[in-house]
Symmetry: C2
Subunit: 308 residues, 2 copies
């Protein structure tokens, strides 16, 4: 059985290497890299690197969609993306010699009602063959924020546990629809609850609507915070690692998906997610992690219970 | 009969509208536009807008190449591009609310010997049906700078006059191969001759190797300078126009192609090219010009003979 990831708004991630980015000037791009992107695709890459089969779905279209699809095949990820009559978006990341990254995110194509209904049907079908389903990233323009609840219902078809990583109004709707795990970062947590204290905010988020089984919040250098019915825990490294944080949140989600699949409890899940996330920060490429660092860091994560 | 334009290194031009470009930050792209690019494609657009059929050739490939090709059809330009096993390059132009344009140019795919030979054969075939041929823009990675001479020989097949707009070592090789018209800008002129004075530099460039029939140099706000066997002329507006200079040089080439086709002399050609170029500066989109401004400005161009 596999991990299914749903990326409602996938993108082709393009990286440009330049000497120095100077607004108002003409730049020769020294090197171009392009790879399939979108949070669910990154999660699937990490899951697969951990030795578990991953299937990705979402909506693709146009020439950029075809390029993305070819990239999935190259990565060995099972491609269950739908093709529709739209143009898949791109992101352009301009990295200069000083390591400064400047990101330009296209918003993505407007997804019509019918493609969205076809995606839900595809997700429901794929969920039957999955141990766990992940819904990751923003919604494309078109469907309203509450559409995330329909997608979650489809992903949970046949009782498959669902992990959701999204933001804004969609995060609130996802919380109310009762996922197995909700993974906001600290800013998203504050924005959706209006509460500054991460622990109080995570507890409040978990109690919205039907309620999530667990809320796992990423706190940046402060590690992770997990809240379940049985308690609350933090997981952190004594010394935070320094590197490229892009994709670290996706590695947390990948670790949580593997933990749900294995039936691990919250403290173990947090330990693994913290180490995998830090090992991702140490890798220069989003969606990849430093395997040696992961093994080493896994023994160094400090897990503590939070006293209410 | 048509105007043939050869673009050795075509590109898909992508424009991103953002609030403000800030290096090191994440930007939401508000609007995305994409259109066929490369200097020869811009020349063909302007030629066609002037009511003369235009045919474009060059080498395309991959998903970006297919998008470029679809754009040519939309523009009503006759597409005689070759498809080869390579990925067509992109350019990304980031335009912010203050109108600042930041350009990122991909270098383009390495063109192998065989695709290059097939392009030369295609150009020779198309030249037989053309009144005038234009070779425009940089060479792709792969062929050496002297390859421009072979492309010119192909474009001149059957006696078709050839206009060349390129830079660097390829410009020197083009000059030596004896085109009908060579169109450097003032920096390119200085770089290839090592002479600061534009008139002396243009005279020297025209005398290299077999020699160009005419050299027409664009001097930015100072207008145009034309040098032939019969004399030298400048063409300028009393008040330079202010706007987006992208594509202005391509409009000069388009006007020169139409002048060569019509058998106009250098002063008339310069007058038309100066007005068309200024009307392009007044249009926000490269490869387009303001038709009303063109008609109005045409009567205001000051053409003067340069005394040796």
């Amino acid at each position: 059985m596999t991990v299914l990831t749903v990326t409602p708004n996938p993108a082709l991630d393009i990286t440009y290497l330049v000497d120095r980015l100077r607004p108002g000037h003409v730049h020769r791009v020294r090197a171009v890299r392009s790879r399939p992107g979108g949070k669910g695709v990154n999660v699937a890459r990490v899951v697969r690197a951990r030795g578990v089969p991953a299937v990705v779905t979402g909506i693709l279209g146009g020439a950029t969609g075809e390029t993305l699809r070819a990239g999935l095949t190259d990565l060995g990820i099972e491609d269950a993306m739908l093709t529709e009559a739209l143009e898949t978006r791109r992101t352009v990341n301009i990295v200069d010699d000083a390591g400064t990254a400047t990101l330009l995110n296209e918003g993505g194509p407007d997804t019509g009602d019918e493609p969205w209904a076809r995606l839900s049907a595809r997700v429901a079908e794929l969920a039957l063959g999955a141990d766990v389903a992940v819904v990751s990233g923003s919604l494309p323009p078109g469907p309203p924020p509450e559409a995330v609840a329909g997608l979650m219902a489809a992903a949970g078809h046949g009782g498959t546990p669902v992990i959701v990583d999204t933001s804004g109004p969609a995060l609130r709707h996802a919380a109310e629809a009762g996922p197995a795990v909700l993974k906001p970062n600290v800013e998203e947590l504050r924005e959706v609850t209006g509460i500054d204290d991460p622990h109080r905010a995570a507890v409040a988020l978990r109690r919205l609507g039907t309620g999530a089984t667990a809320v796992v919040a990423s706190l940046g250098a402060d590690g992770l915070l997990g809240v379940t019915a049985d308690g609350s825990w933090t997981a952190r490294l004594a010394e935070p690692v320094i590197g490229n944080p892009t994709g670290a949140g996706d590695s947390v989600v990948a670790a949580l998906a593997l933990a749900v699949r294995a039936g691990d409890g919250c403290p173990d899940a947090l330990r693994d997610a913290c180490a995998l996330s830090a090992a991702t920060v140490l890798s220069p490429v989003a969606g990849e992690y430093d395997a040696d660092a992961y093994t080493r860091l896994r023994t160094r994560v400090i897990v503590s219970e939070v006293q209410a």
